[in-house]
């Protein structure tokens, strides 16, 4: 993990990516490029919603005689030092990771919305204040901010969500603010105002949805980023505590045994990579299609 802020596309960039030609959008490869990551994300979501459906065993059930068993038909991903089934733990870990990923993104967005709207609509003074707040938040390394919060408020899924959410907030906030600035001067807002719509209605019905639309792409990318962050905190021992199944904590437990039981780190690691990669691919696709749509 290198940076906390989700990769932000330039909002006000003048040129949109080139339009896809009809031919390329119908190619089978392109379908595969959506179907594969879609399947991965779908599987993870299913694992998070109903882990019992996929996991063959209780993720916490130990079997002392089976510790460090390599991957086999019985234990697809092998077993860990207590003989727990790594496959079942990876599946059960999805809920924790997804919960924190979604929760953190929601918290980050909510905070960003408040800051962005205040900055975009509140006049020069408020805008100055908001911009400073965003800059200060930006100046803090995200992981440090998260660690401070966890040190102060203790270890829990909620603290983790808030910590990661706060750390991702400045990125979203900057985006919302600039979107609001663009949209408020747009012709349709002008029209709504001329029609005499009350300010609250303009805000909720016209301004917010339009300012928010480009964010959907960011959210997709942001969830993946937040999952990586949650796993990083788990790896540092700052997330949920073992033996609870969580991808980052599993990586941390496995690293001590990497020379004798590579599967303990390999499978949770690959899962994190595949899941976040899939979200990123889907997010980019979404971005391309909305950009394309916007030009039509």
């Amino acid at each position: 993990m290198t940076t906390l802020a989700p990769p932000l596309p330039e909002v006000e960039k003048p040129a949109a990516p080139p339009l896809r030609t009809a031919r390329s959008s119908r190619s089978p490869l392109r379908h595969l490029g959506v179907a594969l990551p879609g399947a991965v994300v779908g599987a993870v979501v299913l694992a998070a919603l109903a882990p019992g459906l996929l996991a063959p065993q209780d993720p916490l059930e130990i079997s002392l005689s089976e510790s460090f068993a390599p991957p086999s038909a019985e234990h697809l991903f092998g077993t860990d030092q207590s003989g727990r089934d790594v496959f079942s733990r990876v599946i059960h870990g999805a809920r924790q990771s997804l919960l924190i990923g979604l929760g953190a993104t929601a918290i980050g967005l909510l905070g960003a919305m408040v800051l962005g709207l205040a900055g975009g609509l509140g006049g020069r003074l408020a805008d100055g204040a908001v911009t400073r707040v965003i800059e200060i938040l930006y100046a803090f390394p995200g992981i440090l901010l998260a660690l401070i919060l966890i040190a102060v408020y203790g270890n829990s899924a909620l603290t983790q969500m808030v910590a990661v959410g706060l750390a991702t907030m400045p990125g979203y906030a900057r985006m919302v603010r600039s979107q609001v600035l663009v949209v408020r001067r747009s012709a349709y807002v002008e029209a709504a105002r001329t029609l005499g719509h009350p300010p609250a209605r303009i805000l909720l019905r016209t301004l917010l949805p339009n300012a928010f639309r480009p964010l959907t792409v960011l959210i997709t990318l942001g969830v993946g980023q937040a999952v990586v962050w949650a796993a990083a905190l788990g790896f540092l021992g700052m997330g949920v505590q073992p033996p609870t199944a969580e991808w980052g904590a599993m990586l941390n437990a496995g690293r001590h045994y990497i020379q004798q039981a590579w599967w303990m780190d390999f499978f949770p690691g690959v899962t994190i990579v595949l899941f976040t990669l899939s979200l990123t691919v889907l997010g980019r696709r979404l971005q391309q299609s909305t950009d394309a749509g916007a030009l039509r």
Binding site: L60, I62, Q241, H256, Q260
Partner: protein, 551 residues
């Protein structure tokens, strides 16, 4: 009593390989051949002491490092016998109440003051002084100690209120290292930073979270009689480095950045065995094994049936084997195999037996079940809190595995174990609060079977210093252990200590798991003659020298 060989006298195996292979410039490798003298030794360990004065507190990391700069009155050998160190001779009165130690003449503290009887008296006074906050050394002395007096310039008399046959072995520990009175007079906090002794090394700097740097005491003339050589240490300087992360510590050894490491991680044993440049040395301590202490002030744990059920359900042997991969043996007795008067009859007291555990819990009235499957009684869940140290390096991965395994095993019989991660400060804060925890994991190293008295006596209970963690005692056990300490007849001692092991096993106040070991891994191509002394398993670096070509 069974002990593994302690001394690793490593011939410079394959002198030509000193610089071969590793590709790193090992410290000291550039020294002229044919001499043991000189060079810089780097030793890495897992835990950092909170205070370098071992009279204060009394945690194991203190004794390991203190051995390098403090000398004790006597030194203990592997067979349990005691040989001269700062005391060149001693006499014990018939009734076992008076010990007269005659000190070696011409010994000086590294601050220049001479070692005198008065200085030794000041050390006993310092240990007994509540301001020193000793929780280990004090416990060894307080049930017996009356006074220490200087009979002459070099003769000290220690007077006891009742006979204490293991006293000499006890005094061999670095917890009883003799410090300069001037050093101790500076006050606790300053003395913690760098106590002054007569030892082979002198502390120059303590870089917190990194290392303690020491230089050789050029005037050292007080090595113990069982040292490999007399006179100053071979190496000129010594770095005692703290590498808390197991993987990093072992990696530093493999790459030759350190010469030897303390506590070879069990998960690195296969790699260490496969590496012909690395030699390992294990020593099983005389101790109360690493165990779960059951707090009997908890209403459920006050019931012996519940305590026994927990032991039966734990599969202690299985959870140790799984966590330590066979590297650490299981020990079910109240004391370790390395402890004098260990009785093998109690080594596997409670076999894994879920059925018996369930029956005992039913019998104790924990018959209800809640929605999560845990047992209940009068609507209360049978739930026990087990705090553990979550600071880096404090609870090694294998011990974390043991905690998790224990939790999972107890769940099978409907007992909830709450694992509560705590930092060191919060753990210290709840140490003396029986209401803050129900189970604690810990061990107690000691060169004597009398450690059972330290851990489970009414006296320690009343001292309330956080050592009798089970908050349990038994008048009969106290009497047996005091009688055993009072006699010097080995047959009688064996009989009494066996009775004590029997009683402790029956009470199930603790669930013993594995004996504490000093496990060294040494780059034997780079360094020779690091050995482990047996009173506390302290590594001894005074005799160590760096290997070099042509030696």
């Amino acid at each position: 009593m069974r002990r593994r060989p302690v001394l690793i006298a490593l011939a410079a195996a394959g002198a030509g390989t000193v610089l071969g292979g590793c590709g790193t410039a090992a410290p000291g490798a550039d020294l002229p051949p044919g001499t043991r003298d000189g060079g810089h030794l780097v030793f890495a360990t897992d835990r950092e002491p909170t205070c370098l004065d071992p009279h204060n507190s009394g945690d194991m990391p203190q004794t390991y490092i203190a051995r390098q700069y403090l000398d004790s009155l006597v030194s203990m050998k592997v067979d349990g016998s005691v040989v001269p160190w700062l005391a060149e001779s001693w006499e014990i009165s018939e009734d076992g109440l008076l010990y007269d130690f005659t000190l070696k003449p011409g010994v000086f503290f590294t601050d220049g003051d001479p070692l005198t009887a008065e200085a030794v008296v000041a050390n006993f006074t310092h240990i007994m002084d509540p301001k020193t906050q000793s929780s280990t050394a004090l416990l060894y002395l307080s049930p017996y100690f009356v006074s220490a007096t200087a009979l002459s310039e070099l003769v000290v008399r220690v007077e006891l209120k009742r006979p204490y046959s293991p006293l000499l072995q006890v005094l061999a520990q670095a917890f009883f290292g003799i410090e300069s009175p001037r050093s101790m007079a500076r006050g606790l906090s300053e003395n913690c930073e760098g106590p002054v002794g007569t030892g082979p090394f002198i502390i120059t700097e303590w870089k917190r979270n990194q290392e303690v740097v020491m230089v050789r005491n050029e005037n050292y003339n007080s090595a113990p009689a069982d040292a490999l050589h007399q006179g100053p240490a071979y190496v000129e300087s010594l770095t005692w480095r703290f590498l808390k992360d197991n993987t990093a510590r072992f990696g530093a050894l493999q790459s030759g950045k350190v010469h030897a490491i303390f506590n070879l991680p069990p998960e690195s044993v296969p790699a260490a065995t496969a590496d012909d440049k690395i030699t390992t040395d294990d020593f099983i301590h005389s101790c109360i094994p690493f165990a779960f202490d059951l707090n009997t002030t908890h209403p459920a744990l006050a019931d012996i049936r519940v305590r026994r059920a927990l032991v039966h359900a734990a599969d202690a042997e299985g959870i140790v084997r799984s966590a330590y991969a066979g590297v650490f043996p299981y020990e079910g007795n109240a004391i370790s195999t390395g402890t004098p008067f260990y009785d093998p009859a109690y080594s596997l007291p409670y076999p894994y037996d879920e059925q018996t555990a369930n029956a005992l819990l039913d019998d104790a009235g924990w018959t209800g079940r809640d929605e999560e499957g845990y047992r209940t009684k009068d609507g209360q869940r049978l739930s026990l809190r087990l705090p553990y140290n979550s600071d880096p390096g404090e609870t090694p991965p294998a011990d974390q595995t043991i905690l998790q395994n224990f939790q999972a095993m107890q769940k099978r019989v409907g007992v909830e174990i709450q694992l509560l991660p705590k930092d060191s400060a919060s753990l210290t804060a709840i140490r003396r609060d029986p209401l803050a925890f129900d189970i604690r994991a810990g061990y107690w190293n000691s060169p004597t079977a009398g450690v059972m008295y330290i851990k489970f006596s009414q006296e320690t209970y009343e001292l309330d210093n956080g050592q009798n963690v089970s908050y349990a005692f038994d008048a009969e056990l106290d009497e047996i252990l005091l009688d055993a300490a009072a006699t010097t007849d080995p047959d009688l001692q064996q009989r009494l200590y066996s009775q004590a092991q029997d009683l402790l096993t029956a009470q199930a106040w603790h669930i013993p798991l594995y004996p504490i070991q000093t496990r060294l891994a040494i780059r034997s191509d780079l360094v020779s003659d690091i050995w482990i002394e047996p009173s506390e398993g302290e590594p001894v670096l005074h005799d160590a020298y760096l290997n070099r070509e042509g030696l």
